[in-house]
């Protein structure tokens, strides 16, 4: 099957700032593909280029088989978009918002009513369809945006931070819709997130940092590539335990929040040895598989939070430099 999205050397520069530094990747049709990275990593700029909202400085991309620069309207006709900021008309009803969308996308009117009902049912807004959008909660608005993004049967659905700013319950319901969608429809889903736990739902993820794709694979493969499990213990004497870990097992441990943390391959198998040989009484132990946080850490050398802080500093400097003196 053809790639739903094919990107070659895609680059975007704003003056001296390189937002996206020549990325290459393919997204297979039917996949849920996630872009993971801190704010300012270039995720949104990449998605905007794929959605024809920003023109690339260099490189090329096709979406649903159409070139994003030369066949802009065709790309637009075949993609659905849900942005992080709301783009609904609050003074219209849900129905009117959908009708407006149908007209702008040139949908045949005969098939419209059942299609509208179905997308509204899918996100559980069928009963509120005649209410003004201004009376909706934040979660309902986001669900309506997803329904609207699906109305014209797009081949690729782009979701830019679809759950940002929503409460945990609404976040999980949005993920439920995305999963159902993937099972029932012939659709490719391309999303960005900076929530590590959400990236787990994707078939494949690409980690972006400083405008580059650092690594791209399935969440499982990425976690496996980090290899080691994380072991956390509390002991009667942390100092002694740290020394013992270093001398007997050749392990570097860090002390934080009253816990010793270190990484070993095959953590569960290591625990019996630890009890037998450490020589310091152990009060508790926990072993966890590597998370995507660890993956991000191991590929970028920083946590996603620190990376965001650094990026925002970089932006602050840029802004500061632009102030005329």
């Amino acid at each position: 099957m053809d790639a739903a999205v094919a990107v070659r050397g895609l680059t975007k520069r704003y003056g001296e700032l390189v937002a996206v530094a020549g990325v290459d990747f393919d997204v297979t049709a039917g996949e849920v593909f996630g872009f993971l990275g801190p704010n300012g990593a270039g995720k949104s700029t990449t998605i905007k280029m794929l959605c024809t909202l920003v023109e690339p400085t260099a490189g090329s991309a096709t979406v649903a088989g159409f070139d994003v620069v030369r066949e802009r309207d065709h790309v637009r006709r075949h993609i659905g978009l849900v942005f992080q900021d709301p783009t609904l008309d609050q003074y219209l009803t849900a129905d009117q918002n959908l009708q407006m969308h149908a007209e702008l996308y040139g949908l045949p009117r005969a098939a419209l009513r059942p299609r509208m009902t179905q997308v509204l049912e899918m996100v559980g807004l069928e009963e509120r369809r005649s209410a003004l959008v201004s009376t909706y909660s934040g979660g309902m608005k986001r669900r309506l945006e997803i329904a609207r993004g699906l109305l014209h049967a797009p081949r690729v659905l782009f979701l830019d931070e679809p759950t940002v700013g929503l409460d945990p319950q609404t976040r999980s319901s949005i993920w439920r819709y995305i999963n159902e969608l993937r099972q029932r429809e012939d659709i490719t889903i391309f999303l960005t997130t900076h929530y590590m736990d959400e990236a787990e739902y994707c078939d494949r993820i690409a980690i972006m940092d400083h405008g580059n794709i650092v690594v791209m694979d399935t969440p499982e493969a990425l976690k496996a590539s980090v290899g080691k499990d994380r072991v956390q213990i509390t002991t009667a004497d942390d100092e002694a335990a740290t020394m013992a870990l270093e001398h007997r097992f050749d392990l570097k441990a860090t002390i934080a929040e009253g816990q010793l943390t270190f990484a070993v391959p095959a953590g569960e198998a290591f625990v019996p040895r630890l009890f037998a040989e450490l020589g310091v009484p152990i009060k508790s132990v926990s072993v966890s598989r590597p998370s995507l946080d660890d993956v991000f850490m191991s590929y970028t050398g920083t946590t996603i939070r620190d990376a965001e802080a650094a990026n925002s500093n970089q932006w602050m400097r840029m802004v500061a430099n632009r102030v005329p003196r």
Partner: protein, 290 residues
Amino acid sequence: MATTLEQPLPQLAAPPPTLGLRHDIRAVRVVWQREMIRFTRDRLRIVTALIQPVLFLFVLGTGLSTITAGTTQNLNLRTFMYPGALSMAVLFTAMFSAGSIVWDREFGFLREMLVAPVSRWAIVLGKCFGGATTATAQGVIILAMAGIVGVPYSATLFLTVFGELLLLAFTLTAFGIMTAARITQFQAFMALNQMLLMPLFFLSGALFPLGNLPAWLQVLTRINPLTYAVDPVRRAVFAHLHAPPAVVHRLNPGVTWGSWRVPTGVEILIVAAMGVAMLAIGIWEFRKAE
């Protein structure tokens, strides 16, 4: 709900290979329709937009007529100011309607329109028609008050003025959209409006006749595009009045370039040409932005 979730969504017929002009015209209409829905839903706005012209016409017009009564004989000052009030209703509503494009930008809906597979001109034209319709509707409410200010109800007068107001509303909305194209905050647009509206209105001949003015005012009124929209309305109204020729000559001197009185046809052409030019600039600006 559980049952419907198991069925796949119905696939729509394959979209046409090229969307083309018919699709763009559909987009113009839906953008216009949206303006209509919002206009009819916002009753308060309809009322508030009437306050200013009604104040000028009945309060200022009546108040000042105590000074001018001796010189205008049986013609009331309100009658003279009536074309001005009509233009004012259109002016304020058209600019406000054009401002909704800034509002749409600020609240995100503009993006929904800009990412759709439609031409930018279709969106701008739809907005422009929407603003022209709402502004003309406001004008019509003032038009219905003709009898109160001593202007006879006449079908030809009504139709002539209606057409002229429609053209004026279109041009002013195009002007508003042109200025709104780059503005991202509604506050900023309102501030710009405050700066532009009153000078445009004061220098248009809506409040005083344009004959016998000092040279500087003569020049300023002649370069104001609104002047060429107010004058045809006044001519139409005066054509239906029965007043002494001397009074008519003084109150309705028309717009003159040197000693040449600019004919109505030329005035209308000026307003139409300005409208088309500003609409083109507005579309061009929206093509460049984003």
